[in-house]
Symmetry: D2
Subunit: 340 residues, 4 copies
């Protein structure tokens, strides 16, 4: 139940990963594994729609396509599996991974009901080790991670209340009231369990008058109230046709301060008569993403034999300007810049 | 002169990269190449301080240490080189890469003066192809990239003015006035050339009364004024002992609006009587970093045979809560949640 | 049920106002009436603690002190009354104002229970005209006023949900659970009635585990859920010992967008994939408060025969600098500035 | 050279004020004096366009109109004068006020050139006391006032640099380059003199390539560089056809931190690795403007015999809801709310 692992993990053998289910989410994961993940190799994709699987496979080099997800799971060339298929086939696929002793990253929901989810938990227990990770990716969002760390460090005192906002711009009309709970609110369920470090013991889902954009009979927005095992509480708005865009926010209120994420400004903290955020000590923190992107871009271009970033000319021009700048600093006068 | 390359770049052979100079920046790049970059393998590090090189190499598997950077450059097992050594040895090392026909990502400054930088440009021209990329990483920062895209799309009209703020919390006392130009202001030099898409034709570096924190004789802060080839202008504050933290901001003012980056809130745009930013359409944009971190974390843990993210139990518990939530939605009453 | 009245209201006779109850709030109102309100004169203050009333009265010129609030209400020299006494004497004092045909601005709560509040409503009905205004001052806050105007204009579509946060840094230990409802949450009660333009038809007040700062047996924080006559809903957190400072926020979610106030940044609107706020057309809007303060400060100083704002010298110095600036603009060179 | 005077200033005689020049700015001041300023009475307005003066006068009660500003200045019924006429008649009018021993609040610029401004300074010296205040109203803006207080308190260390942005949405085409200096930049001239507490000793006004919106031959935007007597420096952008709206920002950089105003979020401070703002201790600070507006609105309505704010019914309804809330708090159940 932790955030990203720090530090390098290297070695001779990259992890050979297969992706099961190549709709929007599965295709996204395939691109991520092939183009942005270190020490992993995308080796296979599977989808009952085998044409779709083949089209995706052919956009990479050396990736095989399967029509049968279970065949992919069983294949000797696959070390681990990302499951991005529809929820109703998750149980079978996850159980197959456990049976094969392979790690699986399974998109939420784990399965469609409590009984089947419990079967997965018990299969893993019988296997004697953890093999399944569920796709609650907010635990990996830099802002949520930073807020969780603050709470764990006690910076805000004991956690008392959480308020979540989860809004989609829109969803297809077939997205019914219960799916709003199971596919949307489920994220806030996990966020509250994770932030409090406690189970939820009571839930109320309110039905306000729906937006006129809602399909007939669909309750949208919804307001959920959670009570935690330790007595803390949480309120969550879920609104899947809000029309605005994708908005996810979370405010955690502790005994001595509160923190909000999802404002687009890092963790906003309020404590001791101040609101605001932090300023890093150095450029490695501020520009961590930029350095990662720079190096990945350079690796990718170099493998194609190209230079796509700032060139030697850019380096030369900057040097000439800086030389003129140093002269201006000495003399106090404007200096002309001339390039070769 | 572009941002990160979109889309996957895969194939059977990862790029074998060596890092020359393993001080703070070089070690950082080594960890990045080993643990976060796709399709690259860190194979070697070099440093005249061979102990330092060996210590770093031994923290990875299969990475060789060299005392002589030029030997690393020449090694057949190295496809491409990241140069993070001190600036005064850049010329020799970059020229060696060009001579060996190997791509190099060279930290700024390219070299110590205009004459030597021009020698690099000419060596590359003689080689007949681009091999050198200079480490102006702001061109890869998501905010700068988005602002540049806005300017290029004409959203803000023709670019008229730029104002930069570049502040370090502190620097060692030996960081002299001219280094503030060559090692700090050089980033703003590149930012202005890149944003305007034009060369700088005149530079003035002003010497305000220095902060009392400045070492004797050091001009800190400095205020630079650039005039661009097309008549646009830029002002830049550089302040290396500002005491606050690492602050880098850039405001670009066009004929019809302005954009600011570095506020910690994405690109802040002001136009048509509105200030603000954008809200993405969907979760793949909002949580792109989280998904990358989730998958990298899962890959790393899986290679160690561990599960460090949300477990099957977390998936089960969420399912139980959602089932109770759907029941509450139907009945309008609070529902107790009970886990196995 | 409107915001501030626009435009000037003048005439020969300023309103002669008496303030009943001169604790913190009453004293504040007295200073406001004497020093910042146009067309009003503070003429009397009353408090059973007559020493306190006299001390306050003597800090102004021509203000009388009363021990008996009802005597102040009855006094012929008093046109209208501000009631800032404890809630349990409000009924008697408001009824006295109505009986005397005098307007009253009564701090919340109107009275201590529904029965007595209804007696006030009926007394006013019997009097045949409105005389009582209740101190729900959020309706006059520029941000709330702007958000209400947006909602009324339909900019965000029909209002669906409201979420309020109301936090005090601390309160005395005698501030019991029910006072948190009656004295704090009452503001959110009014805000929701006002924003929706509807009555509340159901209320639930939840009791989360209290902060360890709470006095024994006091439920703090509290989470209230309102259901409106038209089916809309509202959630409100009230937390009177939050330790952080005074924080009041309100997010209103409509069918097509949402607006938040209390962030310290004007109304923050999210709609159509944008978040942000508005930029005024001109300086009269941006600096409205500054102009008011400037003129009030000048009036006050002038009545004392002083100049406390920018002097003729400041005007002269600015002119000299601008003349040099115009010369620099013509010549392109720096110009020295010399003052007489 | 101070901000608004704290505390009440009362007494039997309100200040009788005349306004000279009733264009946009003068009319605005007239409304302010009549409807929002305490202890002042608007008694007269003057304008060579006597129709305009009469129209404005007739919108108030008891206000006289003059065609000749000097006649207004000389009138025995006028205690003090606000001068909002065009700059080229300021000298004559201000000198008339000084001659009459009357206080004047004169809009900027004080006069059209240094020589005439100096004559005003000398006339005032000859009169033996200060009578003239110049309309540099940023010194009264709550954000600028707070930033100045921080600087004076030493919170940010010694002031080193200032950067100003001053943008108008648009101006008439007749607004020439020199007017941009004299009528726009003049505010930043005063801001820098005030913040540093020092005179400006050198000014450079740069001419970047103009926006295509600029009238022929007009330099817009402009970039000014100031050097202060103590060695501090300031950069200012002035852009009068920026198209965006009215934007005024100021960043002050001290030895230990920096503060920015004009972001619409109070003073944004960066120091000690934190960015952010302050949260007040109590509601009197947070809602100071709301209380002022509430009371002014109540005074205005009461003088018309109306109630325009929350009524007794609003007070009653809130009480009923709170009673139900207290019952819900006791029972833990939702409570219906029923109004009489």
């Amino acid at each position: 139940m932790t955030g990203p692992v720090a530090g390098p993990v290297t070695g001779p053998a990259p992890l050979r990963v297969g992706v099961v289910g190549v709709g929007m989410m599965g295709a996204d994961h395939a691109v991520r594994l092939a183009g942005r993940a270190a020490n992993a190799t995308l080796v296979a994709v599977a989808d009952p729609d085998v044409d779709r699987a083949e089209r995706l496979a052919s956009s990479f080099e050396g990736v095989r396509a399967f029509a049968d997800p279970l065949e992919l799971v069983a294949d000797d060339g696959v070390d681990a599996v990302v499951i991005a298929s529809p929820g109703f086939v998750h149980e079978e696929q996850v159980l197959a991974c456990i049976a094969a002793g392979k790690h699986a990253l399974c998109e939420k929901p784990l399965t469609m009901d409590a009984e089947s989810s419990l079967r997965v938990v018990e299969a893993e227990r019988a296997a004697g080790r953890h093999l399944v990770q569920v796709g609650f990716m907010r635990r990996f969002d830099p802002e949520y991670v930073a807020m969780k760390a603050m709470l764990d460090a006690g910076d805000l005192g004991r956690l008392l209340l959480v308020h979540n906002v989860h809004r989609n711009k829109t969803v297809p009309d077939g997205f019914l009231s219960e799916m709003i709970v199971r596919d949307s609110l489920v994220h806030e369920v996990d966020v509250c369990r994770w932030l409090f470090g406690e189970e939820i013991v009571e839930i109320t889902v309110h039905s306000p008058a729906p937006t006129s954009e809602a399909a007939d009979g669909v309750v949208d927005p919804q307001v959920a109230v959670f009570r935690m095992a330790g007595g803390g509480m949480a309120t969550s708005e879920v609104f899947v046709k809000c029309g605005v865009g994708y908005e996810v926010r979370c405010e955690a209120t502790g005994e001595h301060g509160n923190a909000t994420v999802g404002l687009g400004s890092g963790v906003l903290v309020r404590s001791a008569n101040r609101w605001g955020g932090s300023i890093p000590d150095d450029f490695r923190v501020r520009f961590a993403q930029a350095y990662d992107a720079e190096v990945q871009s350079w690796v990718d271009a170099t493998r194609r034999g190209e230079v796509t970033g700032p060139t030697a000319w850019d380096g030369y021009a900057a040097t000439v300007v800086c030389e003129a700048g140093m002269e201006s600093l000495r003399t106090g006068s404007p200096m002309k810049v001339s390039l070769a």
